[in-house]
């Protein structure tokens, strides 16, 4: 006779194993980075420029560079992405062309980041003559995270119950008023989720900034958006592979700061999202 509980237990076991397989390595990475990186963290490390060929001093320019780049990318990608998502979810008709557009956007999220890097080099650095600059880097990162933001925002908009739209329209609100006052406020948590994902990706990628903005060694802060800048992921790559004899502490310290920066940015978005979500119960 078949014992349904046994198959169920076996299934649970494998599901649990799969979860463990994901959680354990991530946890280990975090633990190791904290363990090896935390001792390097002090005020000087965070606020000083790199010294002695990046073997001493701090990483302040790289932190600032990454914050600038991520901010720039979000400023570009969030409004455009949101508008595109509103168009796709609220206005576009369900026809072949629009289905293809949606499919293309989802697939763009999977394009390797180095391709975006080359695209940014060709378009912003060379064609628009922005040179290797914060502007070029931000634009490249912005374009890279657009698909994520569009896709998650669209899903957030589409998950707002149709009945809310109907009520609003039935009270004489126009379509735009309905979107503005009913659909968007209820979609904010989901939109923020997309922004978080985009943020993390923009902060962590090396390839898109490699040709478009990142400076190997620039021991000062950028002066304008047309200036080059150091950035944490690239700096980490440089001190790990290009400069001999950098103390392990400094490498892991840099990784720790990058991780912490992304986590802090995510945390802010998560708190905002939580605030909004408390209101939503349907």
């Amino acid at each position: 006779m078949k014992n349904p509980y046994r198959t169920q237990n076996i299934a649970f076991f494998f599901l649990f194993l799969a979860t463990l397989l994901i959680v354990v390595p991530v946890g280990l990475i975090i633990v190791i980075i904290i363990q090896k990186g935390l001792p390097a963290i002090n005020w000087q490390f965070l606020s000083d420029i790199p010294r002695q060929g990046m073997r001493a001093g701090g990483i302040f320019p790289a932190i600032v560079g990454t914050v600038y780049l991520v901010t720039g990318a979000i400023i570009l990608a969030l409004p455009i992405g949101l508008l595109a998502a509103i168009y796709l979810s609220e206005y576009s008709k369900d026809n072949l062309l629009n289905r293809l557009i949606k499919l293309a956007i989802v697939n763009l999220a999977g394009v390797p980041s180095v391709v975006y890097g080359l695209f940014g080099l060709a378009l912003f650095v060379v064609f628009f003559k922005f040179g290797a600059s914060i502007l070029s880097g931000s634009l490249t990162l912005g374009i890279m995270i657009l698909p994520v933001i569009i896709t998650t925002s669209r899903e957030a908009l589409e998950s707002v119950p149709q009945s809310f739209r109907e009520v609003s329209l039935s009270l004489g609100a126009s379509k735009w008023q309905t979107i503005r006052h009913i659909v968007l406020p209820n979609a904010i948590p989901g939109i923020l989720t997309g922004t978080i994902l985009g943020l993390g990706r923009a902060a962590g990628e090396t390839a898109p900034i490699l040709f478009t903005v990142a400076a190997f060694y620039l021991p000062r802060l950028p002066n304008s958006i047309f200036d080059q800048a150091m950035a944490l992921p690239y700096h980490l790559y440089v001190i790990s592979t290009q400069v001999p004899n950098v103390a392990e502490k400094i490498r892991y310290g840099t990784a720790f700061v990058l991780l912490a920066l992304v986590l802090i940015m995510n945390l802010v978005a998560i708190i905002i999202r939580y605030k909004f979500r408390k209101r939503k119960k349907w």
């Binding site: 008709k93 009945s163 809310f164 109907e166 009520v167 609003s168 329209l169 039935s170 009270l171 004489g172 609100a173 126009s174 008023q177 006052h181 009913i182 209820n186 209101r279 939503k280 119960k281 349907w282």
Partner: protein, 251 residues
Amino acid sequence: MAKIITKNLNLWYGTFQALKNVNSTIEANRITAIIGPSGCGKSTLLRVFNRMNDLIEVLRTDGEVLIDDTNILDSHTDLVVLRKKVGMVFQRPNPFPLSIYENIVFGEKIHADGITRDELDEIVEKSLRDVLLWDELKDRLNEPALRLSLEQKQRLCIARLIAVKPDVLLMDEPCSTLDPQATARVEELMRELKSRYTIIIVTHNMQQAARVSDNTGFMLLGELIEFGKTHEIFTAPRDKRTEDYITGRYG
């Protein structure tokens, strides 16, 4: 006095004809009930009156629907104006996930620029009084509307609607989620509102139609089989199919 007149109204969802040659005259300040088995087109007919069907891309209509002598099926109809005038209460109580106060002023905020807080307060009080919720809720106006009971929610939806000052209230099975006591109280409310509004109620509950309405229309498979005074429909139906339905021979 006739408020709404439908003339040879036909409606298609793609190739499926959901309304067939509907002719009716809906009187002002009366309650008109639309009854009939599920899927016969009651909601479809109701949604013609405020053009909510327009959300469906494959929809096609012909014929005329005159509201105050204007054909609202005309492509030039201003839907915002129409929907302010012809409001709708839905089957499931559906307040927005906002406070009680914000729910009621939603329409007013959208329609009137630069309206003052005092004016809004006044609208909230008046609308809640109209639906007999003021005493219960006056101290809870900033609570989330989703915390109310089903009956309170449905009343709130009616309050939210009358805050935009419509002439016609369309109600699509407004009591189907309520218990019998709550249903009786909402019916009482409808009777009170009818002196000021033209009310059309869709219901699958024949007793309800008999209790609250002045006129009744019976629909079957997209046709309006019979339309007339409620007591006549229920006591002396002219059509065999109406008789079969009200004596319980259809589902």
